[in-house]
Amino acid sequence: MKAKLRRLLSWEGLLLAILALVVVVNANLAPAYLSLNNQINLFQLSIEKIIVALVMAFIIINGEIDLSVASVMGLAACIVAVLFDRGVPMEVAIVAALLAGALCGAFNGFWVAYIGLPSLAVTLAGMIGFRGVARILIEDRSISGFPAWFTALGQQPLIGPFPFSLILFALLFTLALIVLQYSGVGRLVYVIGHNAAVARYSGIDVPRLKLGLFIASGFVAALAGVLLAARLGAVRGNTADGFELDIITMVLLGGVSIFGGTGNLAGVGLSILVILNLRNGMSLLNVTGNVQTGVVGMLLILSVLLPNLAQMARERWQRRAVQRKEVQAGVETSVSS
């Protein structure tokens, strides 16, 4: 327990150290970095991804994966846009989009939880299929001209300098933290993620929980898709295309194991901060997108690799010390015998 605690602490400690480094370097190289405006922009530019990352953390800790989230985001945005375009009141359109998201999640969840197909396969199909449904709806059009209150929701500050989606993220993060770390559901997410058979043998309805998580994932992705539509003020068929890898990267860098059962939201929160600040700093320094992605990729690898190498070096050093002793001992005994 103590060792594990130490390891966890060191993981989050590592992220914290990286974050501090990023902040200091950014602040020195780009004076505008620390401005409140930039700090809000930095969240706002990726706000939909980090919202979905929260629920993705649940899914991955539960031992599954959802590759379809970006397509669900796109589909939800398209549903809002197309319904609005056909004269449906915006409020109704939003509700319809959220329901559709939950339905997509239920669809994924059904195949995973009740039929037992691997989530990688199911959500890969969902990734292609849900995007396809969005295409059917919107074809090659671009829909904009949403009501002012809707775009203001995505673009204007709501309370003080903070826009709605940022406040929503803060609330959702708190909620996710409480649910995962302090609720019965959170407990079950971990138990099932580590070993679903143990949960089943303890009388827990594993499929129902998995289905619930996928529905939540679809719903939150749809919510993020609607927010994205509000922020951008226009929707096309490729809205949110390719977001899934960024989202999964945030969760994995947060120390969540892809095999399920371990990780926590503090790590995910820190990892979000690290990635956003790093990208923002590089962006302010005009580093191109490919290099940014490459740097985040390196960070992802190094954050696991370096502690591992340090650990191995320590072990090797200890063993060598032992061997030296052993060799000496061997010499002594052979001399004495």
Partner: protein, 499 residues
Amino acid sequence: MQGSPVLEMRDISRRFGSTQALAGVSLRLYPGEVHALLGENGAGKSTLIKIMTGVHQPDSGQILLDGRPVRISSTLEAQRLGIAAIYQEPLMYPDLNVAENIFIAHAGRGPLVNWGKMYREAEAILAQLDVRLDVRQPARGLSVAAQQTVEIAKALSLQVRVLIMDEPTAALSAHEVEQLFAIVRRLRAQGVAILFISHRLEEVFEIADRITVFRDGRLISSAPRADVTVEQAIRDMAGRSVEQLFPRRHTVRDETLVQVRDLGRQGAFHGVSFDVRAGEVLGFAGLVGARRTDVGLALFGIAPADRGTITIAGQPVRIAHPRQAMRHGIAYVSEDRRGLGLSLPMSIAANITLPTLRRYLNPLGLLRRPAEMATAEEFRRRLAIRAPSVEVEVGKLSGGNQQKVMLSKWLNTRPRLLILDEPTRGIDVGAKAEVHQMIDDLAAEGIAIILISSDLPEVLAMSDRVLVMREGRQMAIFDRHEATQERVLAAAMGQRDAA
């Protein structure tokens, strides 16, 4: 004794963090000798084995093979030196078939696989073991005993000089144990040195030539079998004398709690009928493959029965899901602690409250930690779980303490019928006595208990009645006084009992 030792461990020490796992232990293994190693869990047996097989390196001390110092740097190196081990937990490759499992680790068979030759050799080895397994069958789905057999075959297929057997009999029932001992004797005659580890003292005293006892990383005693008594061995292991191994104070009550009639599940078992009364221990005996566990799983709703009736306290019930079973007061303690029973990275408390989590939630669905802790503490006291706190990860506990956590977890559901599947497999003698004590106490409280065990002395000593199964069929039910080892075995092996 017989000339010079083939393997000598000299003054071996090894630390893990702050734990001194081995402190200056010396041990000699002679060719043609079965050397039994006894000790409670944590005594250092496993560490010694791992050093012998190259998994761990000693901090100090020397290993001599044929009198020459050697360094065993890896499992492969150990194999080259002729040292092989059969572990407690069979290490199968579920996707590979039986023959491949036997030969996969073999070095020097060339880069190509000759399937025909491999099947023939595998069949030959299994024949030598007097076991008939389909060598082309994938290991997935093999019973624990069959897996163990494959493990033994694997070790035999290497030309071993030193064979380490770490609780090889834990999952075997009497008949298989006899088969195994025949093999062990054959190997002994061939001059193989065997290090034999078991918690079943009667077996140790049957097979061993020399008995060594470890406690707390130190060698306590080592003597020829003839010079050791069971009591003395237990005292050396525990550092104290263990009172009765098989306590029995409970009395069976009159009310029939569970009535099972003609229960069956396609492809698994059929025609099982029995009653269990409150406060009664009903033993389930049988050979491996007798499908005793399947009956337990049917009663618990994991693999529901498709035929027959179950009546609980006079009410016919349908059990299609563990939740339904739990509602009827049935609890099932799995034989596979690590795979099915416990969530190893979770705390003791979290494991204990897992099936009853709803009780520890407030209206918002948040955990009521204090209530959870209180329950866990209560069970820690009641079952004497040895752990610094209830927040310790279960994976860090010894087998016996893990077993107690599992029991706590199910006792907390306040069951009326408790199904215990191999509750003492792989736990040391002290913990075993405690588990037996608990079974007796629970029966005394009026809980009906189904005890599935391959440890025949345990079944016979603990049960009020013994149900014997074979190949998915119920062979006989014996009352306590008529259940002798011979009759149970005979029934288990297919001879209808005249009585």
